[in-house]
């Protein structure tokens, strides 16, 4: 039996408008003010069938600098937005595979360029597919726009290792969203994932362990209601809305999902993503580690 899904507006979120249902998306397929964006881990998924009118934003090719370990710069973001026909006023609706893991990652990168007029489709691609909704293979083409993004702002939602070191020294809050085994150092990598070369296992001192997928109903990929999320993050992990919080994982993708939950669904005022994450910290000479 399909799980009962509480309506988004009845789940008690601080910013419920950032989450849209599959029904909402189906009703806005022709809306010129809305651009639907699929972002997946599996490179064949979008091409094999996507929501009508949806464009693809690939996390490796479109969002990352192809040489340095960094995200694209303003010029690249302007070109991307122009290519997918997005203006500064367009509502961008993300969805994707793996419970919107990569969709949240793309949404977080968009925020670095000030495009926070975003939504995430609750339940992601799997829910749309399970509901038997239409998928098409035609790639839409939209008239290019003249998007003029601000220079990327790495201060509001992103932190680097020196900031994390200071954050730790000040005893501020961190959330490690990796698996418990990665957190306690018995694994250097996610279960069933390759070892990415981290030389030390464990976690950043003081971090609370809250695996990212706890925020999601495993049955249908929808986000849990606010009271259950509060129980996980505030009651369970001691992370409260007025805390200055840093989230991290392995390379900053899983933690983007938690960043979205804390910032939008629970309304935490200061949440930043450390995308250097364990692939940097676990190799950083002299960095403090706990197990």
């Amino acid at each position: 039996m399909a799980p009962t899904v509480v309506k988004i507006e009845d789940r008690g979120y601080v910013r419920p408008e950032v989450l849209v249902s599959t029904e909402w998306v189906a009703e806005h397929l022709e809306d010129p003010g809305v651009r639907i964006v699929e972002s997946d881990e599996d490179p064949l998924l979008y091409a094999s069938g996507h929501i009508p009118g949806a464009v693809e934003v690939d996390w490796t090719r479109d969002l990352n600098d192809q040489l340095r370990r960094d995200y694209l710069q303003k010029e690249g973001f302007d070109a991307l937005m122009s290519r997918i026909g997005v203006t500064e006023d367009t509502v961008v609706v993300f969805y994707g595979d793996k419970n919107n893991w990569w969709a949240a990652y793309a949404a977080w990168v968009f925020h670095l360029f000030g495009h926070d007029n975003i939504r995430i489709m609750d339940g992601g691609r799997l829910k749309w597919q399970k509901e038997g909704r239409t998928l098409v293979r035609e790639r839409p083409v939209y008239p290019p726009t003249n998007y003029d993004a601000p220079v990327r702002d790495d201060k509001r939602f992103r932190v680097f290792r020196d900031h994390v070191l200071a954050h730790v020294a000040e005893g501020k809050k961190l959330i490690d969203v990796r698996s418990p085994e990665e957190f306690n150092g018995t694994r250097l990598h996610m279960e069933n994932y390759p070892n990415e070369g981290a030389l030390r296992g464990g976690h950043i001192p003081g971090a609370a362990s809250v695996p990212w997928a706890k925020a999601v109903n495993p049955e249908d990929g929808t986000f849990l209601p606010a009271d259950e999320l509060k129980s996980i993050y505030a009651d369970g992990a001691g992370i409260h809305p007025d805390d200055d919080v840093i989230v991290y994982c392995r390379i900053g993708e899983r933690s983007s999902h938690t960043w979205f939950v804390l910032r939008y669904l629970l309304g935490y005022g200061s949440v930043r993503n450390y995308d250097g994450s364990w692939t940097e910290w676990g190799n950083l000479v002299g960095a403090p580690i706990e197990r």
Partner: protein, 133 residues
């Protein structure tokens, strides 16, 4: 390397454009037919490790020599796994020497190197279980 796999690589080489190659792989994946539980038992011992697409693998000795390779892919979204299953199953009946000669980087030759680490592991493990069978 088995001639059937060499042929796949040669065919894919005709598509230097990534989008065209993806379309070709989707076409290959769309030909894939999943196996029933009778044909490939969903036994944990047959599960391909690290593959989130719920893939099970069975190799059966063929009377005339070689093995028949069967990959069962249970995740309807596992389109990459289905494509690779369809490709690897073409190696059925190949000699041990040919199987051993399948290059370790076959997955990257097929899909390109822009796979996530998790996706790479799952697909590479499909190749590994076949080579170890």
């Amino acid at each position: 390397m088995p001639a059937a796999l060499r042929e796949v690589l040669d065919d894919l080489a005709l598509f230097p454009d990534r989008a065209d190659r993806i379309e070709a792989l989707i076409d290959i994946g769309s030909d894939y037919q999943n196996f029933s539980a009778e044909q490939v038992p969903r036994d944990e011992r047959l599960r391909v490790p690290g593959c989130e697409s719920e893939v099970f693998f069975l190799a059966i000795d063929r009377p005339g020599g070689g093995k028949e390779y069967r990959f069962a892919v249970d995740n309807p979204q596992g389109i990459s796994a289905m494509a690779l299953a369809a490709i690897l199953q073409r190696a059925s009946g190949s000699s041990r020497e040919d199987i051993a000669a399948i290059p370790e980087d076959l997955v990257y030759r097929i899909f390109g190197n822009e796979l996530s680490m998790g996706k790479s592991l799952g697909l590479n493990n499909m190749l590994r279980v076949l080579k170890l069978a």
